[in-house]
């Protein structure tokens, strides 16, 4: 597990930075709920077009749970997690390869499968740290900010959030393993995330395109409103399966090709 611990250690600072940013988002937005809630907000909301509200994840009633989902999981929190995960995924193999460090690592008695798997595992741990920071922040603020989020539901939503972020990180990892290019890896992760987001938003807005939303990992993660209703095995299962598929692609991609150049 030396490759695993090394990658964790290399990204120690990075995970602290993203963790502070994620906690800041929670602590800056959520305490505003009591001052924003009530009739004024409801009135404001009713004047906005529903399509615009949906873009920000405001589909359900705007109680404490709806507000928490919209600000954290519907917007900034998820954006931060995906940015962090794609960055780690692109660096894990492709970044290492571009700097020439990967070929040195591969000259040691390790297999390429070990390199890809241990770094994927490290990404799983790094993203889980951010998800845990968000879950704990919500639980801590739920009382003071009158959000009324049950701790188990905070955990359920954060688990979906975690797997969603990890997925796009692993897309970047797999693209890096297949191409050896950091730019391609970052691009693949970003394009996948944007496409999945658009698929969910369009699918939920345009009648006749509901099938599009059902294909989106965003829908798998949050379609069942885990922050309100708790764990939903189906969506988490789909996310986990797609994550596993990315890891398989990463291992296969790295094993089959020339490293370097």
């Amino acid at each position: 597990m030396i490759l695993f611990t090394r990658f964790l250690r290399e990204n120690r600072r990075s995970v602290i930075g993203w963790g502070v940013a994620s906690a800041s988002v929670c602590f800056l937005y959520l305490p505003f709920y009591p001052s924003m809630g009530g009739p004024e907000l409801e009135q404001l909301m009713s004047r906005m077009p529903s399509a615009m509200l949906a873009v920000f994840g405001l589909s359900g009633p705007l109680d404490g749970v709806g507000f928490t989902h919209a600000t954290i999981f519907g917007l900034l929190g998820t954006l931060l997690l995906i940015l962090a995960a794609v960055g780690w995924g692109a660096r894990a193999v492709a970044g290492d390869e571009e700097s020439g460090a990967l070929e040195l690592t591969l000259s040691y008695p390790v297999t390429r499968a070990q390199v890809a798997l241990q770094r994927a595992l490290a990404m799983l741990v790094l993203t889980s740290v951010l998800a845990l920071v968000v879950a704990l922040s919500i639980v801590a603020l739920s009382g003071p900010a009158q959000l009324n989020v049950a701790p188990v539901n905070a955990l359920a939503a954060s688990t979906a959030f975690w797997l969603l972020g990890l997925l796009f990180g692993l897309v970047a990892l797999a693209a890096g393993c297949l191409s050896g290019r950091k730019g391609a890896a970052t691009g693949a992760g970003a394009v996948a995330a944007v496409a999945a987001y658009l698929a969910q938003t369009l699918g939920n807005q345009v009648s006749g395109l509901e099938w599009l939303a059902r294909l989106s990992p965003f829908e798998w993660a949050f379609g069942s409103e885990p922050l309100r209703f708790g764990f939903s095995a189906g969506g988490l299962g789909l996310l986990a399966a797609l994550c596993a598929l990315c890891v398989v692609a990463a291992v296969w991609g790295l094993q089959r090709r020339d490293v370097g150049n």
């Binding site: 700097s99 591969l106 000259s107 008695p109 297999t111 020339d258 370097g260």
Partner: protein
């Protein structure tokens, strides 16, 4: 099996570029073997093939008697490698990174890399990303030499090292050889490795241009010649030299107006006997017969190889 490396018809193509063509190479156990050639000659490609970092498109190869791809970690446990382009960017300190590599190898003690770092004057406390090119190269050398390898594969090991460290490096190679280890090393220039390498393969455009012992190369290498004579004798001196086999590039150096002496320069490849015999009778005022120039010998080889390939003009690689 006493061959550390054996390649038969080894070839590697990247797209439409032939990086290595039909290479037959045999490196014996315990040998210090050099790969010489300009950029793009196939040195790095050959080394990466040996390590299974890249895979051949044709031919076969055996490293310590094993095929690299199918033997993976079992083989690489017995190797050490210094990459040619090591742009370490890590925030880790030198000690942390060497500790990581030591554990990746298994069985390398802290004392092993600390002793090497001290010998090369490498600061283990500084962050790797902030090290100068020369210090990164030292770190690369430490991780290579700390491994209990039977075969060391070193790509451009002396690049970025100052003359003092180059000497330390040569001692490390000699020490490895004394321990019965095999060393394969590459360089642009023969002069940096001629003191340790027994044999060298000269690569050009991915092909083996020449495989020779350093001693034989030296024997065939041209020497620079300078002869001084009074102006009235110059014509006679020229006449004798022009008739001497192995002497090329004879030219009169431009000199000051009205100087009483003229200076001739040339290159001479061959045994010293005939040269001395020829110049013995000449009325020279000064004579310099320089050391054999190995670089010159290698350059000559590159040039020779170019002739059949390039139809006319210069620089046309394909």
């Amino acid at each position: 099996m006493s061959l550390a490396i054996e390649t038969v018809g080894l070839g590697k193509r990247f797209g439409s570029t032939e990086a290595l063509v039909d290479l037959d190479l045999q490196v014996e156990t315990g040998e210090v073997f050099g790969l010489i050639g300009p950029n793009g000659a196939g040195k790095t490609t050959t080394m990466r093939l040996l390590l299974d970092v890249i895979r051949p498109t044709s031919g076969r190869l055996a490293v310590l008697g094993l095929e690299p791809r199918s033997n993976g970690p079992r083989l690489r446990e017995r190797l050490a490698f210094l990459p040619g382009e090591l742009r370490l960017t890590s925030r880790a300190t030198g000690r942390e990174l060497l500790d990581f590599y030591a554990r990746l190898q298994g069985g390398v003690t802290k004392r092993a890399y600390e002793a090497l770092a001290e010998r090369l004057g490498l600061d283990l406390v500084a962050r790797v990303g902030t090290l100068s090119k020369g210090n990164k190269q030292k770190l690369g050398l430490v991780q290579a030499f700390m491994r209990p390898a039977e075969l060391l594969i070193l790509d451009e090991p002396t690049s970025g090292l100052d003359p003092v460290m180059q000497r330390v490096f040569l001692e490390l190679v000699q020490g490895a050889q004394a321990d019965g280890r095999t060393v394969l090393l590459s360089s642009h220039v023969l002069s940096e490795i001629q003191q340790v390498a027994g044999r060298v393969a000269i690569l050009r455009h991915g092909r083996l241009a020449k495989l020779e012992s350093v001693a034989a190369l030296r024997a065939g290498a041209p020497r620079r010649v300078r002869l001084n004579a009074r102006r009235e004798d110059l014509a006679r001196v020229r006449g004798v030299l022009e008739a001497l086999p192995g002497l090329t590039g004879l030219a009169l150096q431009p000199s000051h107006e009205g100087a009483a002496e003229g200076e001739l320069v040339a290159r001479y490849a061959g045994a010293p006997g005939p040269f001395l015999e020829a110049v013995r009778q000449l009325p020279l005022t000064d004579l310099v017969l320089a050391e054999p120039d190995l670089e010159e010998a290698v350059m000559t080889l590159y040039a020779e190889g170019d002739r059949p390939v390039v139809g006319g003009g210069n620089g046309g690689e394909r």
